[in-house]
Amino acid sequence: MKYSYYPGCTLRTKAVDLDLYARASAKALGIELEEIEEWQCCGGVYPLGTDEIGSKLSSVRALNAAKEKGQALVTMCSACHHVIKRVNDDMKNVDDIRTRANNYMELDEPYTGETEVLHFLEVLRDKVGFDTLKEKVTNPLTGKKIGAYYGCLLLRPSKLLSFDDPENPTIIEDFIRAIGAEPVIYPYRNECCGGYISLKEKEMAESMCDKIMDSAEGFGAEMLITACPLCMYNLNKSGKLPVYYFTELLAEALGVRGECKEEVQA
């Protein structure tokens, strides 16, 4: 299995661990992640205005790079996934955006949404398969009670993201089972952590994250897992339960966490 890979800005900086654990886990699973060359930041949030073109071009460039290699494009961060997947939908289905974006791009062949965009969790579910993953686990996280924190960006709008049921998702719970742990289902797992509001209104984000943490703790979770560096940051401000990237626990279950640990600390 070979894919184009888009890490995104934060996986090169504050969330370098999300990336390193993912790469080590992918290697252990026989998945090749080929980082696309000269990728640019996706912008973090999808530009909602129907007349926004320039702010979508970095995603189009990444999508086209994957297309030229004939590969699906794998994302790791929830925000990058959300932005790139939605821009891809625009390029496929919105005439005006497709035409104007291609006018900027001046590609040999126009980009019209050909690339398949997959979050790494989708690769695990749909390409590897959670049953196969379970067989490859050498160090199951038996007895750990883990709450999946989905947040917003992976799930909504569900018609465009087609990731999972937006109200009753199961993918991260199934992932938790596959690595040998026990998922804890709690009501606030798909509520917003506050997202970018935490820059200027820290208290507002903290009170939202407190509700999420209280909900998870009340239902018996010992820790939360997330795919998003901003969720991680906001949830950590609340500090009630430890929060891990899903890739760190995956690396642990596959027995490759130790080899990343030094690199993460460096």
Binding site: G44, D51, R156, I197
Partner: protein, 128 residues
């Protein structure tokens, strides 16, 4: 700009037809920022229908919306109040010196754990 023209501009930027709203209130019931908003998500739709855009662009709500898409997901009529709010926000930040976030503010907002993702996201929502 006339109020009629402003309302047309919001509809154009958002791509939303507010007349489809049946006022069920599900958007406001879903909104995690509801308590912080002076104009609630379901009211936003009525303000656009009534062409009172001045009130919208001056509302606190513009800067409380998280773009979490809970209202967009749950709207049974596909009205997408979150996109209307964003269009009003765009109308403000596209004007000269109307940004909600300036680079000069950044140093005092930083802390050692703050991810780059937060800065790029906030800049994209809060300024042109």
């Amino acid at each position: 700009m006339s109020s009629n023209k402003q309302a047309e501009q919001i509809k154009e930027i958002s791509g939303v037809n507010p007349l489809k709203c049946m006022k069920c209130g599900k958007c406001s019931a879903s909104c995690p920022s509801y308590n912080e908003m002076d104009i609630k998500p379901h009211q936003f739709v009525s303000y656009v229908v009534n062409e009172d855009i001045e009130s919208l662009v001056n509302s606190k709500s513009l800067w409380k919306c998280l773009s979490c898409f809970a209202c967009v997901e749950r709207c049974p009529r596909d009205v997408k109040p979150g996109k209307l709010i964003d269009a009003a926000r765009q109308m403000v930040v596209r004007q000269r010196e109307q940004d909600y976030l300036s680079p000069n503010e950044i140093p005092e907002l930083l802390d050692p754990d703050l991810p780059q993702q937060l800065l790029v996201s906030a800049f994209r929502r809060y300024r042109r």
